[in-house]
Structure formats: structure tokens, C-alpha cells
């Protein structure tokens, strides 16, 4: 073993743990030491739970010693975005509104991670209620990008991106309503999958917008995302949006073979409707060449303009978020951060007709993406407009100002993952989205994994 423990992937560590060549206690202690040394620079965690982590690790070690190995997450240290309820552990949603909130019960996906034998390291930074940030007037500072600590991590799963990129957790749960898993994956150079809507339970996760919220993992590789998704995917009757569909074996799909795969490139999203910067365009061009070199067919496709998807998704997200927070925002506006408060007040000017028309438009747009995915196995497009900007330069209303490249697939509900597809001249990562048919999460993971194997981007780590 040559890599330091905090740079092992789950896929590398799990067999060592299974063979008792690596103790979950040793692994967890390495991550806790790493957090203690590095997190003061990154602010990825809002709450570290060392006692819980060591107890989880000890239990995992004892179970494995007794011959009861549960699977690839057994003894694996993970972090949880602080909008997920964790029984007996502070869950703030990164807001003064919930500064003292300690849930009695775990979110369903947290239960499932526990059942898989994982080790909980603590709670991770987010934007306030997964919406307001990056902000400096909240109970905790915003997370910082491990590739350059002056840079934005993306949001709202900002701590999840920082922790997985910085080697502070082997995987992290995030959530994605307009891109909050995939944007941190893009800016932080990790993999993150927004599964199909309904694939992972939202029960016990603070909602931003009910009809757009997706829960999913971020990790260093697509393969590790597959391993975590395996543990948290499944029907939950307590989530009204949950899908009662069988869960395939995601890891079994990762065969590395893309020969004959049909890839549709939605170039006009990032080079037409709006324009990504040169780093992003160059990375996309190189990625398409890589795909062609694997034997896949690569063709440009056309969907509705990106701005149509953005208008539809934003009208739904802002309306639902406003409905959720309106009473508390009116009663105690001072408890919210300024960015959350101002974005949400402005959202109050949307009308009921705007919301319903957006929902009707959503059906059209989702049908359009469905149709395209009968002709192509996956679609690919860029994840972000540029490498990470300076943290202090992110505009208060950036969500309103320019369409998000990630939001189309929250609107359509299709599985979409971001993998790192290159670096800027200054060493900052950028990412590419891979989108599959509804409940085709395994295909998305297969393409992401094959792409990572065909390139050398996973060999680069931030110097922190």
C-alpha cells in the first residue's frame, strides 16, 4: 500500500478491510486526524463526531473479526450533508433557524448507510437550507475549495465536495435540486451522482423544493459513487416521491467497455445557448475524443434551449422553497442569512400561474429528454461555466443571472453524474455531466467509470 490512507478509494479499501488487512479503527483514526489537521483550512465540517465515528469503527471491526462482513461500505468513513437528519446529532441546515435542532431519528439514507456498516465522521457544510450561500453571516463559515482555498466549492453540497476532494471523507451524501451535487463535483474535481428522481429516499432530509430534490453521493471516483448508491437506493413508502423499482447491481455494471455506446452531445448548452470558458470547452472537446477512442459513437444532439430548462426549474424551485419557508421568514427574518432572505423574498413575486405553467412545461421538457434517450444511451454536456471562482466574488443572485448547466436534469428527473474531465492552466478542475434514461443510473455510472479509467485525472490530488 503506497497511498496514504486518506487517499484510498472505497473500492481499494473495502477488500483490505474484508481481508482484515486494514482495520476500520485505523482507517477512521486516519480520517479523524486528517480532519483535525486540514479542516480548519477548508471548513468542510460543521460538526465532527469522533466518538460516534470510533464507536462505529470499533463495531465494524468486531463484526468483521466475527466473520460478519456486510459489504463494501463496512468500516468506511463517510460524511453527511447537514440537511440530513441524524439521530442525537445536531442538524442545523447551516442556519440559525435550526441552531439547536437535534433530530430523534436518522434520515432514511443515513439509516441505510449505518445498516451498510459505514462510519459517520460528522456533518458537512451546505448553503443555508441548501439555498442561501456562500454566506458569512451563518452559524458556520462557507466551505473552501481544496484545490485553492480562496475558491468557491460550488453549492449547496459544499462541504461534501470539499471533504471528498480534500481526503476528509471517503464519500459524502449531498443533495441536488438545481445542481447541488454536480456543481461541487465540478468545482472540486470529484465524482457526484444525482440519481433518478425517486431512486433515493428524501425522508428526513430538509426539503428545498419537493418535486426537484434528489439525494445522492459524492466520492473520489464514479465506482465509489456506485458503491454508495447501492447502499442508499431503494423504495421508501415514507417518501411520497419514492420509486418502487428494483435496484440493480451498480458495481457489476462497471465493465469499462463503451464499445458501441451511443453518446449524444448537448453542445449547444455550453457552446451556443450560453458560452462556457475556454478551459471547459477544451476539456469537453478532449473528453469527446476520449469517448470516440473507446469505440463509442459520438453525435451532437439538440434539446430545447438551456434557458427554457432553467426558467422552468427555477420557477418550480423558488415557488416551492418560498412556500416552505414563508411563515418562518415572515415571523423571524433575522434568523436567516441575508443571501437566503433576499433570494427568497424576491421569489415571492412569482405567481401561482408561473408555478403551474412551469409544471406543465416540465412535462414537455422531460418528455423531450426521454425521447432523446431512446436514440442515445447517454447524453453528455459540461457541468459548469468555468473553474471555481474566487469565493468572495460569487454574486448574491448568481442563480438568477445565468442558467445552470445542471438544472435541466433536475427538471427532467433523469440520472446525471459529474466526473472530472480536466484542469485549467492554473490547476483547477472542471467536470462533465453524463445523463442516462430514467432508472438508468447503472449506465451513467458505467460511462463515468469507463471515462475515469481511460484518463489520468484521478491521479491528481489537491496539495493540501
Amino acid at each position: 500500500m503506497t497511498a496514504p490512507l486518506h487517499q484510498l478509494t472505497i473500492a481499494e479499501a473495502a477488500p483490505l478491510i474484508e481481508r482484515k488487512e486494514l482495520s476500520p479503527v485505523e482507517l477512521t483514526d486516519a480520517f479523524l486526524a486528517r480532519i483535525e489537521a486540514v479542516d480548519p483550512q477548508l471548513n468542510a465540517f460543521v460538526c465532527v463526531t469522533p466518538e460516534r465515528a470510533r464507536a462505529d469503527a470499533r463495531r465494524a471491526a468486531d463484526e468483521i473479526a466475527a466473520g460478519n462482513y456486510r459489504g463494501p461500505l463496512h468500516g468506511i468513513p463517510v460524511g453527511i450533508k447537514d440537511i440530513y437528519d441524524t439521530a442525537g446529532i445536531l442538524t442545523t441546515c447551516h442556519s440559525h433557524v435550526h441552531a439547536d435542532r437535534v433530530p430523534e431519528r436518522d434520515a432514511r439514507s443515513v439509516e441505510m448507510l449505518r445498516d451498510a456498516g459505514s462510519v459517520m465522521l460528522g456533518k458537512l457544510a451546505t448553503h443555508e437550507f441548501a439555498f442561501g450561500g456562500p454566506s458569512w453571516d451563518l452559524p458556520f463559515p462557507p466551505a473552501r475549495n481544496p484545490w485553492d482555498k480562496t475558491r468557491f466549492t460550488g453549492g449547496s453540497s459544499s462541504g461534501s465536495g470539499a471533504a471528498t476532494a480534500g481526503g476528509l471523507a471517503m464519500a459524502a451524501m449531498g443533495s441536488d435540486t438545481a445542481g447541488s451535487i454536480r456543481m461541487p463535483a465540478h468545482f472540486c474535481g470529484v465524482a457526484g451522482i444525482k440519481p433518478t428522481y425517486g431512486r433515493v429516499s428524501r425522508r428526513g432530509v430538509a426539503p428545498l423544493a419537493f418535486s426537484l430534490d434528489h439525494c445522492g453521493p459524492l466520492a473520489w471516483t464514479a465506482r465509489d459513487c456506485a458503491l454508495v448508491l447501492q447502499a442508499v437506493a431503494g423504495y421508501d413508502p415514507a417518501d411520497p416521491g419514492s420509486a418502487d423499482r428494483p435496484v440493480p447491481d451498480y458495481a457489476a455494471a462497471l465493465d469499462g467497455d463503451l464499445k458501441g455506446l451511443r453518446i449524444g452531445v448537448v453542445r449547444h448548452f455550453y457552446d451556443g445557448d450560453e458560452h462556457a470558458d475556454a478551459d471547459v470547452k477544451a476539456a469537453m472537446a478532449a473528453a469527446l475524443e476520449t469517448f470516440a477512442g473507446t469505440g463509442a459513437t459520438v453525435e451532437e444532439v439538440k434539446l430545447s434551449p438551456l434557458q427554457d430548462f432553467h426558467a422552468c426549474g427555477m420557477a418550480i424551485m423558488l415557488s416551492e422553497a418560498y412556500a416552505i419557508h414563508e411563515p418562518v421568514l415572515k415571523a423571524t427574518p433575522e434568523k436567516y442569512g441575508e443571501i437566503f432572505r433576499d433570494r427568497l423574498m424576491l421569489s415571492g413575486l412569482l405567481t401561482s400561474a408561473d408555478y403551474v405553467q412551469a409544471l406543465r412545461m416540465r412535462r414537455q421538457l422531460a418528455t423531450e429528454v426521454d425521447a432523446m434517450l431512446t436514440r442515445y444511451d447517454v447524453l453528455v454536456t459540461a457541468s459548469g461555466w468555468s473553474p471555481a471562482p474566487e469565493l468572495g466574488t460569487v454574486p448574491k443572485f448568481y442563480l438568477f443571472e445565468k442558467a445552470l448547466l445542471t438544472i435541466p436534469f433536475d427538471v427532467s428527473g433523469h440520472p446525471a453524474m459529474t466526473v472530472c474531465n480536466g484542469f485549467s492552466a492554473s490547476g483547477l478542475p472542471v467536470g462533465m455531466q453524463i445523463v442516462g434514461p430514467a432508472f438508468g443510473d447503472a449506465t451513467v455510472l458505467r460511462v463515468g467509470d469507463a471515462y475515469e479509467r481511460a484518463t489520468e485525472w484521478r491521479a491528481r490530488r489537491p496539495k493540501i
Binding site: 422552468c312 441575508e338 423574498m345 408561473d354 416540465r362 443571472e401
Partner: protein, 67 residues
């Protein structure tokens, strides 16, 4: 646009926000007002020419007993 017209537009915007039941600071109001064209641009892109029977993309399934 003259300053007077801008001022009138800002006051009308402030009235709308206050009518929602909020009383933000002058600085916040000014920033929200500056962002209002972006919100209006999004609203303008929403499609509105649907047939009466075109359903929204919501799903509501009564939770009754199927037997």
C-alpha cells in the same frame, strides 16, 4: 430611462415586496430590485400556451387500499 422613472420603478418594487409582508433594508431592496430583470427574464421564458387539458408534471396517487 430617467432617474425619476428609475426611482418610481424602485418605489413600485418596494411596495410589492412590502405587500408580501416583508420589510427588508434599503440596501437589500436595491439589490433585489437590480436582480428583478433576471426574474422577469425567467418568467418570460415560461411557456403559457397550453391546451386546457395539458396536465402539470405532478403526480398525486390516493393512498387507498387497492384490494
Amino acid at each position: 430611462m430617467s432617474d425619476d422613472t428609475s426611482g418610481a420603478a424602485f418605489e413600485a418594487f418596494a411596495v410589492r415586496i412590502r405587500a408580501l409582508g416583508f420589510n427588508p433594508s434599503e440596501a437589500s431592496l436595491r439589490e433585489m430590485h437590480a436582480a428583478m430583470p433576471h426574474l422577469e427574464a425567467m418568467r418570460a421564458r415560461l411557456r403559457r400556451s397550453f391546451a386546457y387539458a395539458d396536465e402539470p408534471a405532478h403526480v398525486f396517487r390516493p393512498q387507498g387500499d387497492d384490494r
